[in-house]
Symmetry: C2
Subunit: 138 residues, 2 copies
């Protein structure tokens, strides 16, 4: 039960982009964050495919957010890499657990799933930049 490095690096890259007043190059993100530029390739690509960032190509390129930092959540970023936030298989829409009718454990996991998603939805790039998350920390 771990958050993948893709999601973690993805968040850091998004923060880097959100922080800058102008467009920022992928290779600069890589440098600032100490992440291999090649690996960041995939990450940035996923973020772009998810519609969270965009860029102009060529010399004057560089990435920018497609919308307000207050409107981009951790949930959005996470889903750029994992389409479904699903802590246990039996909750997945694709799979029907044959025990689900009688299984008393299922509501436990679905409850956990819900609070995780709710949390992720509540965290925006803006709130992170303002340091609001650190308040929950204690």
């Amino acid at each position: 039960m771990k958050i993948s490095t893709r999601t973690r690096y993805g968040l850091r890259a998004m923060l880097e982009i959100a922080r800058g007043e102008s467009a920022i190059l992928q290779k600069d993100i890589a440098e600032n964050q100490g992440i291999s530029n090649k690996y960041l390739d995939q990450i940035v690509h996923s973020l772009k495919t998810a519609g969270l960032i965009s860029n102009a190509r060529g010399k004057k390129s560089g990435y920018v957010l497609t919308r307000d930092p207050g409107k981009i959540t951790l949930y959005d970023i996470h889903r750029a890499f994992d389409p479904e936030v699903c802590l246990v298989e039996c909750l997945s829409e694709n799979i029907k657990c044959e025990l689900s009718d009688t299984c008393q454990a299922q509501p436990v996991w679905s409850g956990l799933n819900k609070i995780v998603i709710d949390y992720m939805r509540s965290v925006t790039l803006e709130s992170v930049l303002k340091g609001k998350e650190s308040l929950r920390n204690k």
Copy 2:
């Protein structure tokens, strides 16, 4: 980011034990829950090592909880399999992330970690048996 089957089966096994009015054999748990008895070996062993269940050996054996169902939490069960609930490496006590002083992402993950742990602590075998978790579900 998944809950392991060990933890999931572990919860189901614990519920099975908690439900019964008398001691229950491992092989009966396996049968009732549709889990390979051999695999359950490991799971039951972890639960026992963690001090959550105990048994008499030999013919009249069978497992029982070591304490009140209201005093055994999902967090206890989870830790029987994963010693540390830690969604990202940089939160681990063993590892010191060199970025941690300036990293704005870290509080996000530590906040997530906290709510997950809080949830797990709030779920007891007793509350599950009474179906209280299903209320959060919607």
